[in-house]
C-alpha cells in the first residue's frame, strides 16, 4: 500500500465549500423559475379508511388556484421498488395518516393552503393495523388486500401483511444449541427516527411544450427518480430529465420519490413551472424514516465464550408500502450475524405492512437496530460468563480469509485492530472509573454498495479538467474524494478539477449516492477514464513531440519526454480541439459481484457485503444517580476505511454519524398513537444540539480493500451503526441497568433503577 500520494489521501478542502459558505450555492429548496407556481399536498388524517368522495370544485375556484389534482387525474399506475404497491394519491383506500389525497398549485403558498382547506373529503374510517404484532395476529386486516396481484421481485417471500421474509440458514442451529453450554435469549425494540436533513425535500418541474419534463430536485438518486416519474407519467424515461442543483443532506431519506411527481403533475396541469416543498410536519409524518424494529436473538455459547449457534429474527414495521422494506429485511440478516464466526445460523428479517408511512432507508438501514441487539447481547453474555466484553468479541470476530454468514470470503478484515485501538483509546483497562460511570464498546461491519457509475473526463484548453458524473453530491464530499483520485492519476491538482454532476440528460448513469458507494465507485470510474485519457494524451503528445509514447510520462499537468521534451496538458487539449474534437474519455465501474453460497439464503435481496468495512466504537459516560441523565465524557471510533481518501472528511462522516447515532440512542423517536404521529415538529422531535454531542475521536484504520480506489472502502454509513449498542453497554456498566428499548432515555434508566431498588 503506497503512502506517497500527492493529492488523494490528503485532507484537502472540499471543492464546493466556497459556494456554501457564501450563500451562493443553490439547493433544490432555493431553486426557482420564472412564473413559478407553488404546490401543496393534502394528506389524510386517518390511518386507515375508505376514501368515499373527494371534491375539489370549491378549492379550484379560489383566488390564485391554478390546478387541483387527485387520483382521478393520474393514471392508475402502481409503482415501487421491490413491490409495486404504491400510488400517487389514495384512490379508494387510505393506508396511512399522511397519505397524499390531492395536490394544488397556486400563485402563493397562502393561496395553496386555502385551497387545501377547501377540498372536501369524505372517508369511512376502518380499524387500523397499528404495529407489527397487530399485523401478524391471526385474522388481522390486510393492509393490501390485493397483495398477491402486485408485481414484485420474484425472489421475495410475501404473504399477506409480510412483504418479505429474508432468511439465512447455515449448519443446524438446533444441534448448535444442544452443544452450547449456555443459551441466551433476549428481545430488543427500537423506534422510528428521522434523517433530520435540514433542507426539506423540494422539486421544481417544468414542461417544455414538446411533452418533455425537467425536474430539479434534491434527490440522492436522479436516475431512479427519472425511472419512477417515467412510470407515473407513463412516458419513456428519455422524456424525463432530472437535475440535482444541490442537496442539503439526505442520509437515505431522499432516495425515493418525494415531491417530484406532485411537481411534475401540477406543472403539466397548469402549463407552468411548479415548486413543491415538504413541511416539517410532512417530514415527520410522511417521509422515509427508519423502520421501527423488534429483534429476538437466541445465542448459544461455550463457557469460554465461543459462539456456537444463533437464531435471530428481526421484524421491521415497514409501513403502508413495501418500499425499501424487503431489502432492509435482507440486509438485517447479515447484521444479525454480526462480524462473528458462527457455525450454525438461522436468521430471518421480516418487512411487515402496517398503517403508517412507508419507512425507508436511513444511513445503514437495519444496522443500528440489529447491532443494538447483537452487541447488547454480547455484553450480557460476557457478564454472565464473567468474561471481559472485549475479550469475548476477540474470541469470536471473523479473521482474514474466513467466511461471512452467507459464505463470502472476507478480506481486508481490520476488525481486531479497530477493537484493540478503540479499547486502548477509551482506557478499557478501567471500565468503571467511578460510581455511576462506565465504558462500553460495540463493533460491527457494513457494506460498500455496488451498482455502476460512469464518468466523462475532459481536459480543457486551459489545463483544467472537467469531471462529469451522474452522482449527486449530498454533503459527504464524495465527489471531492473522487476528484482527488482523478487528480492523483492524471498528475494534476485538485484545484484544476471542476465537477458537473447529476443530470440524467447529460451525465452518465450512476446508481446513486447511497450505500456508502459514491467516492468508491465514482473514484474507480475516474481511474478507468484516466487510463483511456492518458492513452489519448500520450498518443497525441508522442506525435507532437516526436517521441515514442512508451518513453513519455504524464505528471504535473504536462507530458515529459526522456530528454526533457515537454508539452502541457493544456496545449494538448488545444491541439486536440483543433484537430480531433478534444481529449475526453469515458470511464465506468461496477463492483465485481461478491461470491457467496446461494444455498444459504432465501428471499434475499442483498446476500453479501461488498468490500466490507469493520468498525469499533467505545464510549465513556456517566449516569446521574437520580435523574438518569447520561453525560458522555469521551467517544472513540476506530473505523477500517481501507484507505483514507480524505481524512478530514472521513472524520466528518464519523463525527456526524455518531451524532445521529447518539440521537437514536438517547433522545430521538417519532411517537405514534393510534397510527398518528404525536411529535411532528422539531420542538418535540429531539435531535442533538451542539451542546449535546461530545467530541468524537476518530481512529482511521486502513486495511486496503482489493477493489476500492487506492484500497478505499465505503465510509459514510457505518458511524451511525454502533452508538446505540455502545451507549447501552456503557449505561449497563455504569448502573447495572440494561435498557433493551431505544431510545435509552433518562426516564427509562431512572424508572428502571427505581424499580430495581424498590
Amino acid at each position: 500500500m503506497t503512502t506517497d500520494t500527492r493529492v488523494v489521501g490528503r485532507s484537502l478542502p472540499r471543492m464546493d465549500a466556497p459556494g456554501k459558505v457564501t450563500g451562493a450555492a443553490v439547493y433544490a429548496a432555493d431553486f426557482a423559475l420564472p412564473g413559478m407556481l407553488h404546490g401543496a399536498v393534502l394528506r389524510s388524517r386517518e390511518p386507515h379508511a375508505r376514501l368515499v368522495r373527494i371534491d375539489a370544485g370549491r378549492a379550484a375556484r379560489l383566488p390564485g388556484v391554478r390546478a387541483v389534482i387527485t387520483a382521478a387525474d393520474v393514471a392508475a399506475v402502481r409503482y415501487g421498488g421491490s413491490v409495486k404497491d404504491e400510488e400517487v394519491f389514495a384512490r379508494e383506500r387510505i393506508r396511512f395518516a399522511g397519505q397524499p389525497l390531492a395536490a394544488v398549485a397556486a400563485t402563493s403558498l397562502d393561496a395553496a393552503a386555502a385551497a387545501l382547506a377547501a377540498i372536501e373529503v369524505t372517508v369511512e374510517p376502518l380499524p387500523p393495523v397499528l404495529d407489527v404484532a397487530a399485523a401478524l395476529a391471526p385474522g388481522a386486516p390486510l393492509v393490501h388486500e390485493d397483495w398477491a396481484d402486485y408485481a414484485a421481485l420474484p425472489i421475495l417471500h410475501r404473504d399477506g401483511n409480510v412483504c418479505n421474509r429474508a432468511r439465512i440458514v447455515v449448519g443446524d442451529v438446533e444441534r448448535g444449541f444442544e452443544e452450547s453450554e449456555r443459551v441466551f435469549t433476549h428481545r430488543f425494540t427500537t423506534r422510528s427516527v428521522h434523517q433530520g436533513y435540514t433542507e426539506p425535500r423540494a422539486a421544481v418541474a417544468h414542461w417544455d411544450g414538446a411533452g418533455q419534463v425537467s425536474v430539479w430536485s434534491n434527490t440522492q438518486l436522479p436516475f431512479e427518480i427519472q425511472a419512477t416519474l417515467s412510470e407515473i407519467l407513463q412516458m419513456p424515461p428519455s422524456r424525463v430529465r432530472v437535475i440535482v442543483p444541490g442537496v442539503g443532506g439526505g442520509f437515505g431519506g431522499k432516495l425515493r420519490i418525494g415531491v417530484e411527481h406532485f411537481a411534475a403533475l401540477l406543472a403539466r396541469a397548469t402549463g407552468r413551472a411548479v415548486k413543491v416543498m415538504t413541511t416539517c410536519e410532512e417530514e415527520l409524518t410522511a417521509a422515509y424514516a427508519r423502520q421501527p424494529a423488534i429483534v429476538e436473538l437466541k445465542t448459544g455459547v461455550t463457557l469460554q465464550g465461543r459462539i456456537l449457534a444463533r437464531e435471530g429474527r428481526l421484524w421491521f414495521d415497514t409501513g403502508a408500502f413495501a418500499g425499501s422494506g424487503p431489502g432492509v429485511a435482507s440486509v438485517a440478516t447479515l447484521m444479525l450475524a454480526g462480524p462473528y464466526r458462527i457455525p450454525n445460523l438461522l436468521l430471518e428479517g421480516y418487512a411487515v405492512y402496517t398503517h403508517k408511512t412507508n419507512f425507508g432507508s436511513f444511513r445503514a438501514p437495519s444496522g443500528p437496530q440489529a447491532n443494538f441487539a447483537v452487541e447488547s447481547q454480547m455484553d450480557i453474555i460476557a457478564d454472565a460468563l464473567d468474561l471481559d466484553p472485549l475479550e469475548l468479541r476477540l474470541r469470536n470476530i471473523v479473521r482474514e480469509g474466513e467466511e461471512g454468514p452467507t459464505g463470502q470470503v472476507l478480506t481486508a478484515v481490520g476488525l481486531e485492530e479497530c477493537l484493540r485501538r478503540a479499547a486502548a483509546a477509551i482506557g478499557w483497562a478501567e471500565r468503571r472509573p467511578a460510581p455511576g460511570r462506565g465504558k462500553g464498546i460495540a463493533c460491527g461491519w457494513w457494506t460498500t454498495t455496488g451498482g455502476s457509475s460512469g464518468v466523462y473526463v475532459k481536459i480543457n484548453p486551459d489545463g483544467t479538467v472537467a469531471l462529469n458524473t451522474g452522482a449527486a453530491e449530498i454533503g459527504t464530499a464524495a465527489l471531492t474524494g473522487a476528484a482527488q483520485v482523478l487528480a492523483e492519476d492524471l498528475g494534476v491538482e485538485l484545484a484544476d478539477v471542476n465537477v458537473v454532476s447529476a443530470d440524467t440528460l447529460s451525465t452518465p448513469y450512476d446508481f446513486g449516492a447511497q450505500g456508502s458507494r459514491t467516492a468508491f465507485a465514482v473514484g474507480n470510474a475516474c481511474r478507468a477514464a484516466v487510463v483511456d485519457l492518458k492513452a489519448q494524451v500520450l498518443a497525441l503528445a508522442a506525435r507532437h513531440l516526436g517521441v515514442e509514447p512508451r518513453a513519455l510520462q504524464v505528471g504535473r499537468g504536462a507530458v515529459i519526454g526522456p530528454a526533457g521534451e515537454r508539452v502541457t496538458l493544456a496545449e494538448l487539449a488545444r491541439l486536440s480541439q483543433a484537430s480531433g474534437g478534444g481529449l475526453i474519455a469515458h470511464g465506468t465501474f461496477v463492483a465485481p459481484p461478491t461470491p457467496y453460497d446461494a444455498k444459504r439464503v432465501e428471499g434475499h435481496v442483498y446476500p453479501a457485503f461488498h468490500s466490507p468495512s469493520f468498525h469499533a466504537h467505545a464510549v465513556d459516560l456517566s449516569v446521574d444517580a437520580d435523574t438518569g441523565e447520561v453525560t458522555v465524557h469521551r467517544y472513540v471510533v476506530a473505523q477500517d476505511v481501507g484507505f483514507a481518501m480524505n481524512p478530514a472528511y472521513i472524520e466528518g462522516q464519523i463525527e456526524g454519524g455518531v451524532a445521529q447515532g447518539l440521537g437514536q440512542a438517547l433522545s430521538e423517536e417519532i411517537v405514534y398513537e393510534g397510527g398518528r404521529v404525536l411529535n411532528a415538529n422539531l420542538t418535540d422531535y429531539k435531535m442533538p444540539t451542539a451542546v449535546d454531542v461530545p467530541r468524537v475521536e476518530s481512529i482511521l484504520v486502513q486495511h486496503p480493500s482489493l477493489v476500492g480506489p487506492f484500497g478505499a472502502k465505503g465510509v459514510g454509513e457505518p458511524p451511525s451503526i454502533e452508538p446505540p449498542a455502545a451507549v447501552a453497554n456503557a449505561v449497563a456498566s455504569a448502573t447495572g441497568v440494561r435498557i433493551t428499548d431505544l431510545p435509552i432515555t433518562a426516564e427509562k434508566i431512572a424508572l428502571a433503577r427505581q424499580e430495581r431498588t424498590g
Partner: protein
C-alpha cells in the same frame, strides 16, 4: 390584504418592498429580494437555518415580521465577505473541513459571528452554547466548533 411599504436595509443596501403585514423577514429575503443564502426549513424557530443578524445579534428570520425590521440593520450570509475577500469565519469553515451539505452553514456562520462579536474569546463550551440554536445533521458540530475556535484564537493572537 393591504400591503405596507417597508424599507429594509440588508447588507448595507436599502430595499423598498411592498409586503402584507404577516410576511416574515425570511420570506421577504428569499422571495422578494432573491437572497437565498438564508435558508428555510422548520419555520418554527427550532432549527436556526434562517439565522440572520439584526443590529448585530443573531435572530431567526422565520418568526420575525418583515414590517418590524424597518430601520434595523440586517446582515445575511451574502453580506459577510467584504470586497471579494472571505470573512475569517468563512475561511476557517472551509479550511477546517466544517462544511458538509452546507445547508446549515449560513445560519451557523452568522450565529458564530454574533458570538465572536459579543464575546471575543469564548471557550469551546461557550461556542457550542452560542450555536445551540443551529441544528446540523451532517457534522456532529465538531469541526464547526473547531473552526470558530480557530478564528477566536487568531483574533486573540492579534491575527
Amino acid at each position: 390584504m393591504a400591503r405596507l411599504a417597508v424599507s429594509l436595509t440588508v447588507n448595507g443596501a436599502a430595499h423598498e418592498v411592498l409586503v402584507e403585514p404577516h410576511r416574515t423577514l425570511l420570506e421577504v429575503l428569499r422571495g422578494d429580494l432573491g437572497l437565498t443564502g438564508t435558508k428555510e426549513n422548520c419555520l418554527d424557530a427550532e432549527c436556526g437555518v434562517c439565522t440572520v443578524l439584526l443590529d448585530g445579534v443573531a435572530v431567526n428570520a422565520c418568526i420575525l415580521l418583515a414590517v418590524r425590521c424597518r430601520e434595523r440593520a440586517i446582515v445575511t450570509i451574502e453580506g459577510l465577505a467584504a470586497d471579494g475577500a472571505l470573512h475569517p469565519l468563512q475561511r476557517a469553515f472551509i479550511d477546517q473541513g466544517a462544511v458538509q451539505c452546507g445547508y446549515c452553514i449560513p445560519g451557523m456562520i452568522l450565529a458564530a459571528k454574533a458570538c465572536l462579536d459579543e464575546q471575543g474569546d469564548p471557550t469551546e463550551r461557550e461556542i457550542r452554547e452560542a450555536l445551540a440554536g443551529n441544528l446540523c445533521r451532517c457534522t456532529g458540530y465538531q469541526k464547526i466548533a473547531e473552526a470558530v475556535a480557530s478564528v477566536a484564537g487568531a483574533a486573540r493572537a492579534g491575527g
